[in-house]
Subunit: 346 residues, 4 copies
Amino acid sequence: MIQAGIIGATGYAGSELVRLLQAHPEVNIHTITSQSYAGKPYGEVFENYRHEAFICEEENLAEMAEACDVIFLALPHGVASKKVTPEILAKTKIVDLGADFRLKDINVYREWYQAEHDAVNLLDEAVYGLCEINRAGTAGKRLVANPGCYTTCSILSLYPLVKEKMIDLDSIVIDAKSGVSGAGRGANMGVHFCETDGSIKAYKVASHRHTPEIEEQLSYAADASVVLSFTPHLIPMNRGILATCYARLLDNYTYEDIRAAYMKYYADEYFIRLTKKGVFPETKWVKGSNFVDIGFAVDERTKRVVITGALDNLVKGAAGQAVQNMNIIFGLDETAGLTMTPMFPA
Amino acid sequence: MIQAGIIGATGYAGSELVRLLQAHPEVNIHTITSQSYAGKPYGEVFENYRHEAFICEEENLAEMAEACDVIFLALPHGVASKKVTPEILAKTKIVDLGADFRLKDINVYREWYQAEHDAVNLLDEAVYGLCEINRAGTAGKRLVANPGCYTTCSILSLYPLVKEKMIDLDSIVIDAKSGVSGAGRGANMGVHFCETDGSIKAYKVASHRHTPEIEEQLSYAADASVVLSFTPHLIPMNRGILATCYARLLDNYTYEDIRAAYMKYYADEYFIRLTKKGVFPETKWVKGSNFVDIGFAVDERTKRVVITGALDNLVKGAAGQAVQNMNIIFGLDETAGLTMTPMFPA
Amino acid sequence: MIQAGIIGATGYAGSELVRLLQAHPEVNIHTITSQSYAGKPYGEVFENYRHEAFICEEENLAEMAEACDVIFLALPHGVASKKVTPEILAKTKIVDLGADFRLKDINVYREWYQAEHDAVNLLDEAVYGLCEINRAGTAGKRLVANPGCYTTCSILSLYPLVKEKMIDLDSIVIDAKSGVSGAGRGANMGVHFCETDGSIKAYKVASHRHTPEIEEQLSYAADASVVLSFTPHLIPMNRGILATCYARLLDNYTYEDIRAAYMKYYADEYFIRLTKKGVFPETKWVKGSNFVDIGFAVDERTKRVVITGALDNLVKGAAGQAVQNMNIIFGLDETAGLTMTPMFPA
Amino acid sequence: MIQAGIIGATGYAGSELVRLLQAHPEVNIHTITSQSYAGKPYGEVFENYRHEAFICEEENLAEMAEACDVIFLALPHGVASKKVTPEILAKTKIVDLGADFRLKDINVYREWYQAEHDAVNLLDEAVYGLCEINRAGTAGKRLVANPGCYTTCSILSLYPLVKEKMIDLDSIVIDAKSGVSGAGRGANMGVHFCETDGSIKAYKVASHRHTPEIEEQLSYAADASVVLSFTPHLIPMNRGILATCYARLLDNYTYEDIRAAYMKYYADEYFIRLTKKGVFPETKWVKGSNFVDIGFAVDERTKRVVITGALDNLVKGAAGQAVQNMNIIFGLDETAGLTMTPMFPA
């Protein structure tokens, strides 16, 4: 059994990690930590775990590195880069669900996060763990930067068309919608039920930090610089992301041409499900699962392709992909512990 | 008092018309009709009207035309064009909340609606009642085509920039989101609570019938052909539309340049509220009201402007604008009966 | 015009007061205050008021008492009793939406609030402003304790049967359900969207402070001591309270007998709407209005009557009843400013 | 592997059965049938199963009885009793999720269902499959009547106190609240999003058919006739039932006395989780799981105990308990396939 530690287990992503690892056939949850709830039974913070004996512990990363084969970090940005060191990495594997090790270009990091980075020396080693695209680079590695929720959805929705140079890179618009759990488990007026229910808004227009992450990865795929528009929206629902992506086609591609491109890259991907022609993804169909559903239409009038991708922000957008990365690191079946059917209705 | 009739009063738009006209200082509701509920007290269909004595009547348009100064039609598309005739228009004013008289180009109608039109002879006379843009053409007229919900939101969000030729007409993308009342008051699985709550989807991608309506009106504004991408989404909330609009700027316009364009056209518009810089509309702030809130950001990285517009689909997107059109037709204060503050939380 | 002041205008009840008073034909909003947002435009706190010029001011009760004919207090419990004095009451009328002046029995207050009361001398003068029951005592008075939301719904649902001695006073159970706005506009985990949506819970079981308020008023009606079970529940919706009340019938009363009791007391009450036999209130039908809908069934098997009452907690349960009390105090038509039809769907 | 068949797999309970059986380590889903969707891929009806090859088949019970070890019936009431015969039962086990075999007293059935029963001869054989109470009677049996959702929650919440004769049987009131999936997967106005969201109502007051089911079972426990008040409510959420139960205590029992009664019966029950003192169940903490959470308070003022029980209506209230019954019938570990942690937030 793989011994796993979770640091920051009392956020929504951390809680979802516990749920997934608990059901994973090859994993034992060795330690879970929480700054806010240290000493408290986990089942009193999240009463869905009332039947379990987990206790929130104080974090001691050095000790955990000795005892755990893998440690998941579910922390606010800027924290992981202060904790992870070559010494830690010499003893354990790290899957970081935060943003610290995602961007390769330190200048881009500085610009979008308005901060220095505390572990620049590890950026080269860190693997960007978007499994379907980068799994070869992840196997056996020590430090995986788990992609963001919006980014996973956006990149996977666009990747085949960018890679195959079928779309105008200057024309990409991503209009993304997220459930409220994406905002995290902190009390603030922005997530008050009465301020959120029955309403929709765009936020961080032209300034969301997932933008450079999407651009960096799509630029690798394109082997050219990608600059795009990304707009996140808050939706009155708990889980789920839908990314609606627009791009100008570079030729008179048909629906079948586009489909062939997706099949070329995703035909064997268990977690990516292409919808049938005329059917578009709905977040309800992926809830609680690690699936990404992708559908698209070719609009002959505008010469654009419109792609919609849907995933569960806490699973494929966070904890599920982290487990998938763990599976890859340790050479397990990539779907181990991740084959649950989406729960509907939920 | 203006005597008003409502045909199709037991849909959501019809019900909202009753609510607004009932509170209108210059209007008396003379007749309300319903095909499904004829003979039934209105307060048993919509129990919010339990304290009122309204009865759903059988429709008799000829009689209503004699008795009513204005008749509102809230009917499925294709029905109004069978009912409205020059004889009717000789006796009363018609505000049609459906789609039949919105498109001027009969070929566009045939293509998008896949049907012949039963009153082509009236298309010239019909006024497209987007009040803020076309009020001069509406005063005193007999037949007003009340714009669609998505279209009102989309056109008002983009109009100043199109009119001022500040954006590339080929670059327009409108990603729109609507609450479920936009789907109408009919029982089908698509609006079942369990199929809708906690989920989001795009629908009618590249094929929604509001697309040509938006294009036709923006083409008038541009004095050039506008072809654009429009994608509607279903949001788990009752009311509200948010349209997120993207367009490439034709010059290095600043935020202030863009704002000046909006002010040029909307500075004196009571129902259009520009948000402050950095603030973006939320549908909750317009709920129950006739306001349209508009905000925008200039993205220097992509040379795009991103505009978000929000309105209540049943008010400014339907019944409210219909009342506003009635006010214009009869020369009343345009805001009469429409100055209610949005209800929050709701 | 009546000059009105609102202290604590940036909570949900305060905001609703602004909405109602703004539309009131006989009232001018003279001053609104907010401790948290003093100096800020009201339309930046609640952007539904973006079109208005209101500014949140620092509270200065003495000055307000000079300038205002009536002052509404929307404050946490324990605050109003520190502010209201005979000097203030000599100059203005006070409608207190908080709990401080609701309980007549100071010992009951001490027990349930675990605190001393700072204005015991005013308890006698204070009128319990449940309008339908106590309007005679309110006209012309200076200090009105506006009832709680749960209490208004519960008392009105049970009053005729208690008054007519048709039910066993020892058998009363009130199972009440409230939307989240009842919890107030403060950021805490209990109202986080993800902790609230898609779930229901009971809270403060056998210990909610509205219990003694209901008991005290029903005891007056019964002219006997009423001790009852009251359980509040949190419902994933913004507004609305439904109180399901159970009581043992003291005789073999029929549906018609019970109905006659309700008609005896409520036949002429504009704001109380009895549903038809077999129809039960839904909170959606009263949303945004000052109505209380009441329905009931006689269960011959159990010899119980089951009554359900529904109201909007922010209107009849708070701001609306406060305005109704103001109307009574000043001898206006009791429905002035309160005849809006419920908004549906909302 | 146990070969399982599901008849009526395209309702919500049927779909949940597929989800649970699919993940069950000892079960193979042999056949799923659907009247409405025969011939259609299951993954096109429920797109959460898009990655699966299931096809909806025409029902052929005789053939299925040959091929399947167990058949689950998820059908409207009145249908199962027409299908199940001694011949069928000679070949396979039946777990019926409908109401046909739940009531032992045929007169009670006739009265509440206003219909004759088509398989009176099987009523004796049928086991009422409320596992925690009746598992001894279920092992090895051929026909299990799976309890209703409201009934499971209500009976388990009250059973220990009834059995121990701690409460006045005449004083029981059950105020129950259910998510919308309890209304089934059919299109009707009552489950339209706009008619349901943001609102709460009681329905079938004093007339819901789960009432006699609760009474019959509690009467067995009490060895005396139990007649009680049961009121269901519709809550704007997908899943979950909360039953708030009230009863007069027959003695001055303390919290600890009551707790001891619950522990006596439930201490070893995996699926029943008692909350800590002062903590009350929330449906969110059991969503997607087979758990029943129970909490209570002793109200010394009223001499009542107030118990709240929470479960997921589609799992412990339907499909989960059906699987639990299958486990018992076949002598498997009762928790096999049912140990999933509740999903939160969902």
